[in-house]
Amino acid sequence: MTVQPNVSGKISAADPLLSGIKPESRDAGTRLLLIALATATLFHGALLPFTHGNTYDAFIHMFFGDHYYRNWFDPWEPRWYTGFSTTSYPPGTHMAMGALRHIMPLRAAFVVVQMVGILLLTVGVYRYSLLWVTPRAAGFAAITLTLASSISETLHLFGQLPTIFSLGVFLNGMPFVYRWIVLGRWRNLAGAVVFGSATTAAHHVTTLFGAVLFIVPLAFQALRAVAELNPLPAKSLQGAQLRGQFWFLWRPATQWRRKLAVIIRFGWPFVRGIILAVGIVGAMVITIFPYWYWSITDPITQVPIPHGSRESFIKRTDLGFVFFLLPWGTSLLLLPYAIYKGLTTRLWPLAATLVLCFVLGTGGTTPIPRIILRGAFDILTLDRFTFWASILILPFIGVLFDGLFYGRSGKVLCLALGRGANRIVGGGLLACYMAVAIFCAVLPVIRPMQPTFIDPAPMVSFLEQDQHNRWRYLTLGFGDQFAYVSALTTAQSVDGNYHSARRLPDMMRFSVERLENSKYLGVPGLGSLQQFLVNTDRYNLKYVFSNDEFYDPLLVFTGWNRLNRLANGVVVWEKPDVAPLPLLQPRRELSNGQNLLWGLLPPSALILAGIIFVSSFLRRGFSQTQAEYRPLVVAQDRFMRPVLVRRIVFSMGVIAVLSAVGGGTWAWIRAQRPTPPDQVIEAYFNDLDFRRYGDAYARLDPKTREDFETVNFQWHWRGGLIASYGKLIGFRSEVLAQTDDLIDWRIHLDWLTAMDVQHQVLEMRGVKRGDHWFVVPTELRPQQTPVRMQREAGVLWNVTGRRQPLADTDLHRDRLDRPEISISGARLVRHKGLYSVVGQVFNAASEPAYLTLQSDLRSETDQVLANQAAAMVNGQRLLPAESSGFRIAFEGVLSLRDAAAAAGYDPKLFVPPILDATPVAATIDARALVATANLYRGIALNGLNFSEDADGLKIAGIAANVGTLTASVIRITAMGYDETGAPIWVDVGYVDSNILPGQTAPFEVRLPPRSSIEVVSEIMSKDTMINGSGARADPNAPQSGEGTVRLNNVAGYGALRFQISSMTYEPEF
């Protein structure tokens, strides 16, 4: 049974609701929609080709698009995370790009699909608004959409293609939903289901939440329409509000006939609503069935990735700006109006949903979103609720503009403030919209959030040359452009840019979104990265493309060699002695049926929706209101009190002026207030950290400071680990002496570097000039290099390898022997609950050796509990006859969840790995290759002194560069022998600053007290593999008394062996 309206196809002039819609309003709706489409095309279409490269997500979607270009029916994608299934994300928009990729470049395909999405959304908003308001108001809603900051942000800042596209599809399906509930007719149901299916094909979350946020209020609107189009015969209920009719059902059991009439009247629409729900859910399941299958069979066990939209926007105002204030933009000012209209008109269901979205969009600012969303709170990105709110408010804003330009509010404004006042207000609002939208679009230019565009061609070319794609690669400092590089090559990366799909345990344990930006998550992030840089064999990782010098020290001291700088400025790093990818790699197979479903259903749904969209347009057009629509028509005869309006406007103007003057005065007074000295010194170091040299210079004592150029020279003279590669993460000042006008501090600075946190202690002075404190400039030590021209006989090596005019890829004669190395005195030890393998490695060959050291922890039953490669506590590259200590630390890395559990973030905190049993033994696998790089031996250690304190052995001295190269970062490896003459602990220290030839710098290395280290077991020769074969004891390996510094039981140590290695080039900052 279907309910027939009492009008069919034509608007009845007698209808109290529709009679307010004048013919010119209907025509204006069409015109305004066309203006909106033109605005969208001109504004966003002109910007998109230039802005999408700076967005967060655009390249990720391009990568997926490229996947379907290469393999439409094979969802397995090996290029990220050692392989993942693309069934983990609905493929609609990606397939559209993949199809277009056959006729245009990938980036152009993205722009085209995105433009289709925004145009669809413009029409969709118009059609959805038309279900609530008059055509002219709907037209204004569409125009407002094109100027909305949320759209601008989503397009030009976030690059969220599926969000825009799917909502566009979804909203265009809403008229079918409405008509199905009101009128019935199976074709309406079919249309609604097909659009639901097409929406799901593009983005399932839109269908899921859209059903609640867009369809539920629309269902109420439809029920109201049913009531209005089919009035009850009983007089008592005629004209009653919808709510009244529902209340009536709950009254005592009288008037049962009338009750039955109400039930019959709403029963069928209600049943149709249920049928629709079943249909849409069914479409959701079937359209992307492989996705649901993947979700169930491979559930996400990923540690939640922090997202700014879940933070408190009061505490993190920067995030509040990006995820709340910016997407709301000008609409936030109009929210009270929308709520007012919701409370007083038939738009209340829409307003209720709007308020719900507003609340959920506030993230962690209040506990309400967490209470509503429960577990989903930590998975969802809540800014999407703000986005949906910014769409839901559009019908209200359409009404507002309609009223301002053509309605009662405009007339009142004109009467109150003079002719044209309504246009000034309306135009001003539109100008505000435009200004905020443009601001969003150009924000990445004002404050770049991505690295400058990196030409991917040199990297793609490198990976395709000389079979470099037989190994995996990693990018560092690329931002989201990493996805674009991936899309252009068939080479594989251990990293990826879609964290929901990753399945590598080493990545899932950490709350690091990507390895490539791991520095932004401090030690947990860098620890995660280090696991991959060190355990390269596990991942067949051989190449790193680095666009961020911050990681250089980490790469050098985890054994990576710098190959060369590509034409785009990116530096290529190579790890020697890594096995290539196996020819057959593991992959997760889907059934052919699922592959076919995935390859056919989503695009079919989109194509079908497109056909319905076009045929619907041809049949009835979509700019006109329909007979069954029951829009809000604002009465034109209420509230005509211009005097009151004038008073209110003037009062508000006065308040605004007073607020501005008061606020400005307050800000000026605040700015003039002298800053306390401790804040001055902290601000000084913050300025230096952020390279705000002008601001830092302004904080120096104006009476004693040199000119800016001189001071700037002094700041830049010293580079190295802290100055060039450090990020200030901790500041503490300690007052040593103070007078009224002078203050002496001891400053404690914690610098996050790629390796660890470096602690620096400085003594500084502040001086008061007038009312303000300044920092007394420090002076450089004017050390003199002893000679002006230094000569030195050096050694250079060349390993020919394949660099010969022969096409053969591998010849036996070009291969070098692996250098003969030996391991001696190796032990499994435990310190502070962490297991480590320590020992001495000796290069007995006549060639420099590049070392790869790995160890297995073993249980009593000889089960392998953990495998780990030596990281930074390792000589790595030894000259012939050199020996060094090494320590393979079996460490876990603090995840953010652990940090939260520990009620604080301590970047130095390491956690032990999770082991299945107690380790009782360990084995070592050592390999060597001939090394020719990073063998600088120009650093001497002057005046080493050894002292003991509660923390153990402190080794301090002066590092002197007596060679001819600049040592950017210097690592000092100290191996301590115990009373038996066997290695017991190895640790490293780094020199804070770089050292130019002839210059010196202090350093410090610490070893824990011998008493705190427990020897678990000795590692015998039989448990050691050297170059793939069993090891023998080497009688030539130096012992504890040979080439060592002997100690008289300082902190329990009997002797120390030192090895010094350096990174010897200047970073280009």
Partner: protein, 355 residues
């Protein structure tokens, strides 16, 4: 694939199987009509299977045509373990030649004969005691292999570190001192190769030690000491692998002070501080103390307050600012520089600056 399909067809169509003979050899079963012609040239025993009586045939490999030569290790330690040279001999179509073919192997200056077995001839060779680069190869009759190389390297375990000449017993202060070894060689007299690493250790005698790495170039280990920021001389020795050199005495020629140190003070009433200017730091070397030399200043005020300041000399002078005003005079000033320590009493500031 083509042959596999044909074979499948053959198996399915039994009539054809009956009609065509099938050959078997050490490498499998094949049909003469569809296999490549070279197959029939492979050496070994082949048997023909057909509806007639099975017939066998042995094909002998041809004469040696390709001589492939491998040896390893490519680096041998002088007087050390032996190496192995292996020759793989093939006929024109890739068959391993018949056993017993004579292979003449040349490794450096020595030659050795060996007979092939399964196409391979193997000889072991000793590296000898002479280090250097050597060539190697093999010949079978008139056929020769490509050239191969191997290296005999000095025995690092036999290298004794020795000072080349008596090291500079009196190095200049704040200068480089080159500390070179004698040409280092193993027990056979082979000079050590470039790039080996050792260490110079200078024990200052007061618990302080200086370590200098040395790297060999042209047989000589070269270390360099920067005589700045180190606590004087001491006992010095070399170490290389397990061996160490005799210990020698080593001194640094520190400069002596010349004349009295001048001290001037200037108080700043605005900040209630005193600027001290010390110097010039004159030396007996005929020049002021070098820029960057560290000076530690200990100041005791008239109230007994003790202040410590550290600074560096620039143009022979040191300037430091103290957090004391003119009321703190007289000041007792103790300056410690590479010239030694000296103490002074400053009764009053020379100049007072008012804002």
């Amino acid at each position: 694939m083509k042959s596999l399909v044909a074979l499948l067809i053959t198996i399915i169509s039994t009539d054809i199987v009956a009609a065509e003979p099938i050959l078997t050899d050490a490498f499998g079963i094949y049909m003469p009509s569809i296999e490549q012609a070279e197959r029939s040239t492979w050496a070994g025993y082949s048997e023909s299977l057909s509806d007639r009586e099975p017939q066998g045939k042995t094909t002998r490999p041809g004469a040696a045509q390709d001589v492939l030569f491998y040896l390893g290790p490519k680096n041998l330690i002088a007087g050390g373990h032996k190496g192995q040279a292996m020759t793989l001999v093939l006929d024109a179509v890739g068959n391993l030649v018949a056993d017993g073919a004579n292979v003449k192997t040349t490794t450096g200056q020595t030659t050795a004969d060996a007979q092939t077995k399964s196409g391979i001839a193997s000889v072991f060779y000793l590296p000898g005691t002479l280090a250097g680069q050597f060539h190697a190869g093999a010949a079978v009759g008139a056929q020769q292999s490509n050239r191969a190389e191997f290296q005999v390297v000095p025995d690092l375990a036999g290298v004794v570190p020795v000072w080349g000449k008596k090291p500079v017993s009196l190095a200049l202060f704040e200068d480089y001192a080159d500390l070179n070894t004698a040409p280092l060689s193993d027990q056979f007299g082979n000079e050590i190769l470039e790039g080996a690493g050792g260490q110079v250790q200078l024990d200052h005698g007061n618990g302080l030690t200086t370590l200098l790495p040395f790297v060999t170039a042209q047989g000589v280990g070269q270390a360099r000491l920067l005589t700045r920021d180190i606590p004087g001389g001491g006992q010095i020795n070399l170490s290389f692998e397990r061996r160490t050199s005799p210990i020698l005495s080593f001194e640094i020629d520190s400069p002596e002070p010349a004349g009295l140190l001048q001290i001037r003070a200037m108080t700043d009433a605005e900040t209630a501080s005193t600027r001290l200017k010390l110097g010039p730091f004159l030396t007996t070397e005929g020049h002021a103390l070098n820029d960057g030399s560290t000076v530690q200043v200990k100041v005791t005020t008239s109230h007994g307050k003790v202040l410590h300041e550290t600074g560096w000399i620039l143009n022979g002078l040191l300037e430091v600012t103290l957090l004391v005003d003119s009321q703190a005079f007289p000041l007792t000033i103790e300056a410690t520089s590479p010239l030694g320590s000296s103490s002074y009493v400053l009764m009053a500031p020379e100049m007072q600056v008012t804002p």
